[in-house]
């Protein structure tokens, strides 16, 4: 039975298109890729596992993979639940006992199977071993407590507002500009395009100070618009969309004009739907940029009620350097949305990025 199952697994693993045999190179490839799964997912899995450990067991060293909980038993006559231990006595016998109290090396224990038998005095020096009875238990108090001491919902709301509005705005003004730069002839067009393209590689880190000055003058310090607007005119997006729109035939636009369509109608009813693949790629990028943005919101937002998740999480870990149990849970909650989106759209995201090759 087991042999048959093993054969099945073997056949499944070795089966390939074209029914070729597995070569040594294939084995090395699979080993490398499986190791890659461990390296890439391992840290995240470890984070998730840790986030379910109770505050006390989080600091057990060396750490365990699964979160554990000390097993307890409630006995009549005792208000508090008693911790269970497996005690191996000097003569080699092992008994499961509940600890009533302990002072130094002297523990008073009771047999939960025979509570009438009375208290046993156990000298911890005279026994061979004393192991706490533990079972795997996913403790969610880090999450409930974390959400209470960390305004997660508020930060999440800010992050969602910034990401959604900024992405919509980026898509709108970038596609309009790309349309204007690819389908019209007018003086200064090429100059405008060149100036935009030449700033393609200018990161926000290079213009931090003057950009911050502009924000103060506009009055957008401590205002989500100060995070949303400045990044909306991304040259990358204009470039990507323009290159795509250049491939759309001009005859299509001409015939629409002959049919009496206005320029705005041509833009939204013909050009935008046809540019959908490029728009999809830009959407993915924009969401990624905005959700993960850190430096610019860190500068623009000083009031904690306006923090985005990234800035809030950083402030949280800086302020409460020892509160790892909350930080871990909040980190899991922060990476959850993007993980779900990725799990659903993995194929589109990876192929979209592979075809345009930029970030």
């Amino acid at each position: 039975m087991a042999e048959q199952a093993l054969k099945g697994i073997r056949a499944f693993l070795l089966r390939r298109q074209g029914r070729k045999r597995l070569t040594a190179a294939d084995v090395v490839t699979y080993l490398y890729l499986l190791a890659g799964v461990g390296v890439m997912f391992g840290p995240v899995v470890w984070l998730v596992m840790s986030s379910f450990k109770s505050q006390a067991s989080l600091y057990n060293f060396p750490p365990t993979f699964f979160p554990y909980r000390q097993e307890t038993v409630t006995l009549p006559g005792y208000a508090e639940p008693l911790a269970l231990y497996d005690i191996t006595f000097a003569d080699g016998t092992t008994r499961r006992l509940a600890q009533v109290s302990r002072v130094g090396i002297a523990a008073r224990m009771i047999d939960p199977a025979d509570p009438e038998g009375g208290l046993l005095d156990v000298n911890l020096r005279e026994i061979q071993d004393r192991k706490p009875v533990q079972s795997v238990f996913f403790d969610t108090t880090n999450y409930s407590g974390g959400v209470e001491s960390f305004p997660f919902v508020n930060y999440l709301k800010n992050s969602v507002v910034v990401t959604v509005l900024a992405t919509l705005l980026t898509l709108l003004i970038n596609s309009m500009a790309a349309f204007g730069l690819s389908k019209y002839r007018y003086r200064g067009r090429d100059a405008i395009f060149l100036v935009m393209i030449s700033t393609l590689m200018v990161p926000i880190s290079v213009i931090l100070i003057p950009a911050f000055l502009v924000i103060t003058q506009v009055g957008w310090v401590n205002n989500l618009w100060g995070v949303i607007i400045p990044g909306a005119a991304t040259p990358t997006g204009v470039f990507l969309l323009r290159q795509y729109m250049l491939t759309l035939p001009d005859e299509l636009l001409e015939s629409a004009r002959i049919d009496g369509a206005s320029e705005w109608r041509i833009y939204w009813q013909i050009v935008l739907p046809l540019a959908a693949p490029a728009l999809a790629v830009l959407t993915i990028f924009s969401v990624m940029w905005r959700w993960n943005d850190f430096l610019w919101p860190l500068i623009v937002l000083n009031h904690s009620e306006l923090f985005t998740l990234q800035v809030g999480l950083n402030a949280f870990q800086g302020a409460l350097n020892v509160q790892w149990h909350y930080i871990l849970a909040m980190t899991v909650l922060t990476l959850l949305p993007i993980t779900i989106v990725f799990a659903l759209l993995q194929r589109y995201i990876t192929s979209g990025i592979a075809t345009t090759g930029m970030k």
Partner: protein, 342 residues
């Protein structure tokens, strides 16, 4: 292959139709509404000038928040004072730049007036060389592995890409938790009978881990680009090489490498440009420490400007950074042109 995919494809088409109906109708209604405002504009300025109209919103935002600050940055670089308001700043010429470059011995940051700047420059150079080198090598190996005829390629591709999506803050916290003194790495070391290590408090170790973490976080992106490059190499070339008696290594060296070169250049320059700007992950992971061991240029600019309010020196430093980035970009354009000819 096509047979196997037929069923999901049909399902996908139904999904798309549904999505289209849910999204397109409100979109069309909204755009028709906007039309009422915009069509009079067209009547006013004429159809030929509508190009200006379409470019305008993007151009305004771009001009105010990117182009104008870029020009203003020069002004800051050549003025001094603690005020961010341009009218309250005093013109000092190249004094800020001169102060940055005021070193008796450039190899030794201690002899510089702004020693932190030169430490940041040194650290950034080291980071760029090792991070880009290690990352490109692993990205290439991974892309080659993913380009083979293997099962579950989509899954593996996704696995390597996943960390790219995580925010720098999340990435830093994940690793900070593992690298902390009581973390899993020290746990493994102690359980195998080895000594504990100071991952983030020893300067050399901290530099090493900053590199490892950023390779972990960014490798998948470059792997995808290299994979796309590999897949664009025509299969016939490999068949021809095989017919000519070329082995695996020979066909890798004579077919894969030369044809992948343009993609490699793109990956190399993109990762160089990103590496020069390293900031957020490291800021959360080590805050530049221990001491100044992982202090990089962007953090130097950020702290000089917003903690010390020395906007002049910070702007001068960002001009230096801009020159480095400009050089890298030109380098890319040049290489791109030569590889096109080749």
């Amino acid at each position: 292959m096509t047979m196997r995919r037929a069923e999901p494809r049909r399902k996908k088409r139904r999904m798309n139709e549904l999505l289209e109906r849910a999204l397109f109708r409100p979109y069309a209604a909204l755009m028709t509404l906007v039309e009422v405002v915009i069509d009079p504009i067209q009547r006013l300025i004429g159809q030929r000038r509508m190009g200006y109209f379409f470019v305008l919103p993007n151009l305004l935002v771009f001009g105010i928040f990117i182009l104008f600050p870029m020009l203003l940055n020069f002004y800051y670089g050549f003025t001094a004072g603690n005020s961010i308001l341009p009218q309250n700043r005093e013109f000092v010429g190249t004094a800020n730049l001169e102060a940055l470059f005021n070193c008796t011995d450039f190899a030794n940051p201690n002899t510089c007036q702004h020693d932190r700047f030169w430490r940041a420059v040194g650290n950034t150079s080291g980071f760029v060389v090792f991070q880009v080198g290690i990352m490109v090598i692993f990205a290439l190996i991974t892309a080659l592995a993913l380009n083979r005829d293997i099962r579950a390629r989509g899954f593996f591709r996704g696995v390597f890409f996943y960390p790219v999506l995580l925010s720098p803050v999340v990435v830093a916290l994940i690793w900070k938790w593992m690298l902390q003194p009581e973390g899993i790495f020290n746990g493994v070391l102690v359980s195998t009978g080895l000594e504990r290590m100071d991952f983030l408090t020893d300067p050399t170790q901290a530099r090493l881990w900053v590199i490892i973490v950023s390779v972990w976080a960014q490798m998948g992106f470059h792997t995808l680009i290299l994979l796309a490059g590999l897949q664009s190499i025509p299969k016939e070339l490999y068949e021809a090489a095989w017919m000519d008696g070329a082995g695996a290594w020979r066909s890798f060296r004579s077919v894969t490498l030369p044809l992948l070169m343009p993609t490699m250049v793109v990956v190399l320059v993109l990762s160089l440009i990103r590496a020069v700007q390293v900031f957020d992950q490291v800021y959360v992971l080590t805050t530049g420490g221990p001491g100044t061991a992982t202090l990089y240029m962007v953090q130097y600019i950020f702290q000089t400007a917003f903690d010390r309010r020395d906007f002049g020196v910070a702007a001068a430093a960002s001009l230096v950074l801009a020159v480095v980035l400009l050089f890298l970009t030109l380098f890319q354009l040049r290489l791109g042109r030569t590889s096109e000819i080749a």
